[in-house]
Subunit: 431 residues, 2 copies
């Protein structure tokens, strides 16, 4: 279902690459490593076993049969996973399609006032459900959006209980209080927040509204989770990936470029940007030693960014690991008709298809990286579907847990964002 080809990391000059033994580990070592990971956080991978969650969400969703628009109000981890699901699993031009069988998802992960006004030009309030996602219930973006839309709902003499649905902590918090007091329904937020939440109600609820195959999504994640729990390093893909990232970072590859060769996977790279940046960018180790570690994630897209970024990757500083995502069956064959037999410059495309062209460009680009001593690896999946997207989510989440161990940092907190949050609170109330 999913494999990783590390070959080009072995082929580049030694100081820029890896040796095969770098990705190996004894059963004993992997056992110890896994037991450390378990002691930090088991929720992020055990949630995929909770298949009852899907039934609970389906039950809630069944109450909103007439809805045409679902507006997700969330930011960061409450939005990026859902955006990735939307872009990976729906039609590329879903918004423009005339007849739709599922409600249109809009994900408002910003508070630009222009966005707050222009969204009203395209949604039909009586047919819209607002999904407010915040674990704590105090994140300024979704909460301000909630008050804004609720005000409009009330002005239109509609019932907020029918048009607003919370995803929030079932134990505490502001949104839970409002839910109890005013009867606005809620789906419980799972035990993992933010960047690890896509496989919980945070991602599964909008995915259910959009009619996605959430069962296969969790199945793909579970199958990868099983590899992650294996003490056989050959099978443990998250271990191998994390090991490669870590050892190459030690060799100066402080930037990881994720470059899918599939239009629908473009937003996987956006989701991953948060996961890697926020989990591994840390000032201190667990024991309080100042280290300022971190790997900077960069999003790229093939073939598009070959015409934009490849010049830098090849000739610039040797500070990058390129992680390509390749898809075996993007689509059934779409031939490129050779309409100009008279033009010798175009004959290299004779008999080609778009499928072949994107593949050949990908392989050529990776071979060029290798020639330039830029380490690159390729993650292969069979097709862009719910199963493989679930597997990718778990591959990356689990590899992050290993990275946390290698760096001896807490991969699950984010102390560095508190200062700006406090300043916002202080300055807004003063303004």
């Amino acid at each position: 279902m999913l494999s990783i080809d590390f070959k080009n990391t072995f082929k580049v000059a030694k100081q820029h690459g890896l040796a095969q033994k770098d990705l190996q580990a004894s059963k004993k070592d992997l056992q110890n490593l896994l037991s450390d990971v378990h002691s930090r956080n088991q929720n992020f991978y055990s949630i995929v076993d909770d298949t009852d969650e899907l039934k609970r969400i389906a039950e809630v969703a069944s109450h909103y049969k007439d809805i045409l628009h679902v507006v997700v109000c969330g930011i960061g981890g409450s939005a990026l996973g859902t955006i990735c699901l939307q872009r990976s699993l729906q039609h590329l031009f879903q918004e423009q399609r005339k007849s739709k069988k599922v409600p249109q998802l809009y994900i408002l992960d910003n508070i630009d006032p222009t966005m707050m006004v222009e969204i009203l030009d395209v949604i039909d309030l009586p047919k819209t459900l607002f999904l407010i996602v915040s674990k704590s219930g105090t994140t300024p973006e979704p909460i301000s959006q909630y008050m804004y839309f609720k005000n409009l709902i009330k002005k239109a003499k509609l019932n907020p209980e029918k048009h607003i649905l919370f995803i929030t902590d079932p134990e505490k918090g502001v949104l839970r209080e409002i839910h109890e007091r005013e009867g606005i329904p809620m789906v419980p937020h799972g035990p993992v927040g933010g960047r690890f939440s896509v496989l919980s109600s945070v991602g599964l609820t909008p995915a259910t509204f959009a009619g996605m195959d959430t069962k296969s999504l969790l199945k793909g994640a579970r199958d990868m989770r099983d590899l992650f729990l294996s003490t056989d390093a050959k099978k443990n893909l998250p271990f191998q990936l994390a090991r490669a990232q870590y050892l190459l970072e030690k060799k100066g590859k402080t930037i990881n470029v994720m470059m899918p060769y599939a239009q629908k996977l473009a937003f996987m790279a956006d989701w991953y940007r948060q996961l890697l940046a926020e989990s591994i960018g840390k000032e201190k180790t667990r024991s309080g030693k100042m280290v300022n570690v971190g790997i900077t994630p960069v999003k790229a897209l093939g073939t598009t960014d070959q015409h934009s970024q490849a010049q830098l990757y090849n000739e610039g500083p040797k500070d990058k690991l390129i992680m390509v995502l390749a898809v075996k069956n993007l689509h059934k064959t779409v031939p490129i008709p050779m309409l100009h037999k008279e033009l010798p410059e175009l004959q290299y495309m004779k008999g080609a298809s778009f499928n072949k062209l994107i593949d050949v460009e990908r392989i050529a680009t990776c071979n060029a990286y290798t020639k330039y001593d830029v380490p690159n690896l390729t993650i292969h999946i069979d097709t862009v579907d719910a199963y493989h997207v679930g597997a990718l989510f778990m591959l990356f989440e689990a590899s992050i847990a290993f990275l946390g161990e290698f760096y001896n940092i807490d991969a699950f907190n984010q102390p560095g964002v508190e200062l700006a949050k406090n300043l916002t609170r202080k300055n807004l109330s003063r303004a």
Copy 2:
């Protein structure tokens, strides 16, 4: 119209920041620098004086009154500028708006076969114009797309001359040959290609079809060009910006994050990624010395990425300069209604607006960067309109020309992408 606030680069610890004198230069020095820049390339800034171009394009566009969809087939510099124009100057949800006064732009900057098939579900072929953009006429992506769509046009018994328009080199190349032989119309490609082409026919033609204010776009660019030609360093914003980027790169800030606080400017960062990466990522100096220089551009968006990237920027390695784009008037005031006077946790939002909230978050986030010794500067514009977008394009293009001089590299070539292109050609014809 546009100003740059460097204050926070002066406030951070000395080893991570700048001194005010770093951005100064004598009239003489600037004169020499400008004369070096002129000797490399004058086209990129002189094209904005060619206001007859707009008349020529308007004349061509007037032949396509019934068109509802304009599909731009181009990649890299032939797409990124147009995407930025589309996202900056059109409604945020233009695709979903019911009544449109202008044709819908689709920009196909990839060759994923899924995209090539799914686009057909949303365009109406008899009402569609395909704009094929390639200076050389041999770029595989637009050329394969051209043959694919032309084949469909012919199968539908439509006339290719009415549904295809080339933007290509008026002197030579494959598309020009086809234009002459088959009468498919063409708009001449300007003298600057790729990443410097947005202010030429490459960007102006789709902008004209989409009814954008191209006059103001060029006016903004011209006004900035005049600052760029000034030998007074205080006025020369492109000089100051380039100087800051260069000196901070020498202090280890090898990553430049462009972070607009405006949903509509998100794609300015994508356009800039190509400009910076491809221009400055170079293996050799002009005299052939091996240097492997480059600055890695990273796209971020405020407030969205505060919840995703800020942890890394603050606590991770000190390898970044953050370049914020701030907009004075994003929209007329959109108040946040305080619907929950009973909840003390939300009272900090009392009396606030989305305008205020995004501003306060931006300033708080920049102040946090500064506290963490992460150098950051803010480019202020009045509003997101054609004039200011034109000024931003020219600010960045001109600063790149200066960067080329500081590094003594050719900022206008891209030798590092040839290898993959050759491998593609070879392997495709062999396949």
